[in-house]
Symmetry: C2
Subunit: 149 residues, 2 copies
DNA sequence: AGCTTATTGATACTGAGTATCAATATAGCA
DNA sequence: TGCTATATTGATACTCAGTATCAATAAGCT
């Protein structure tokens, strides 16, 4: 339930994870992985693309989105759904996490300790669904964004 | 926690709700409201548009999306986020609800009785966020979609 | 170094929604 | 019931977030 440092996993760890999965370590992937590990808070694919471009990278737009998909699949990134319908991504700490997201600035506080297990067990017995996962996302306004002016 | 019938609120109720909010009751809005009250399960704006067109309605595409927004705002519809990133909408029963969504066919079971209140209180005291809302969405495969063949 | 094939970037495309704006219809009121 | 102010509409063009295609390239294995 406390703010979780993203330092728990390095860019190198993530690259190893990619390799172990049988994926090739390419220059574009290295760039994207290093970029996301240097970030905090929510970002979009477009932002990632823009920022890499700015610092002279030649990574293609499609590659950005492809790589994001891979990283979401590997649970390195989490996809976050915002109230306005837009999607952002956040680096994910190991384990089961959820997010408290600032609707104003996109700041994210990860937390764990969600207590929906019982609820899910209940649903599993009461419906004929095979339950595969859940999302819990909490949103509000962070301290900084509450300041007037 | 049980499957909730959508019959709890009629198209007429919804139209009254619109009127009470100060919104005009227009032909397109009536068509959309009647259409959604005749549905069950998840639908997209595009589907709504297509279906209304098929039955000879002249409602514009923009109007569909505008009306959906109004209905989400008024808590007549819920926006549902699917694992693949697509958005659907469901008629919402009165009160605080969440959804169990079939990833294969889009079937939806509404449920209530979410137990994240304590969690949220906790977050509110531990962070400086003003908390404004939450999403809880559970997904899996419904009984029908589990059948082989 | 050579070979296989995963990955890339350019390009063009889609899907979902939105800004614009002149035309129209609604609701409140005389 | 008709008049008027303005909320709403539909057509159009546009944006934004991603995706399919495909020839060129580069990883990684041997
Ligand atoms: Mn979403
Ligand atoms: Mn809840
Ligand atoms: Zn903020
Ligand atoms: Zn299903």
């Amino acid at each position: 339930m406390e703010r979780v440092s993203y330092r728990g996993r390095t860019a190198q760890d993530t690259l190893n994870h990619l390799r172990e999965t049988g994926l090739r370590i390419t220059e574009p992937r290295v760039e994207v992985v290093e970029e996301i590990h240097g970030r905090q808070g929510l970002f979009t694919g477009e932002q990632l693309y823009g920022d890499l471009r700015e610092r002279g990278s030649g990574v293609g737009r499609a590659t950005i989105f492809r790589t994001i998909d891979v990283l979401v699949e590997l649970e390195i990134l989490d996809r976050v759904h915002q109230p306005d319908g837009a999607h952002g991504y956040v680096l994910r700490s190991p384990g089961h996490r959820h997010h408290l997201v600032c609707s104003a600035c996109g700041d994210v506080v990860e937390f764990q300790g969600c207590n929906v297990g019982d609820l899910i067990d209940d649903l599993a017995t009461r419906t004929d669904f095979r339950i595969e996962g859940h999302w819990l996302e909490i949103f509000g306004t962070c301290g900084r964004c509450q300041q007037p002016g």
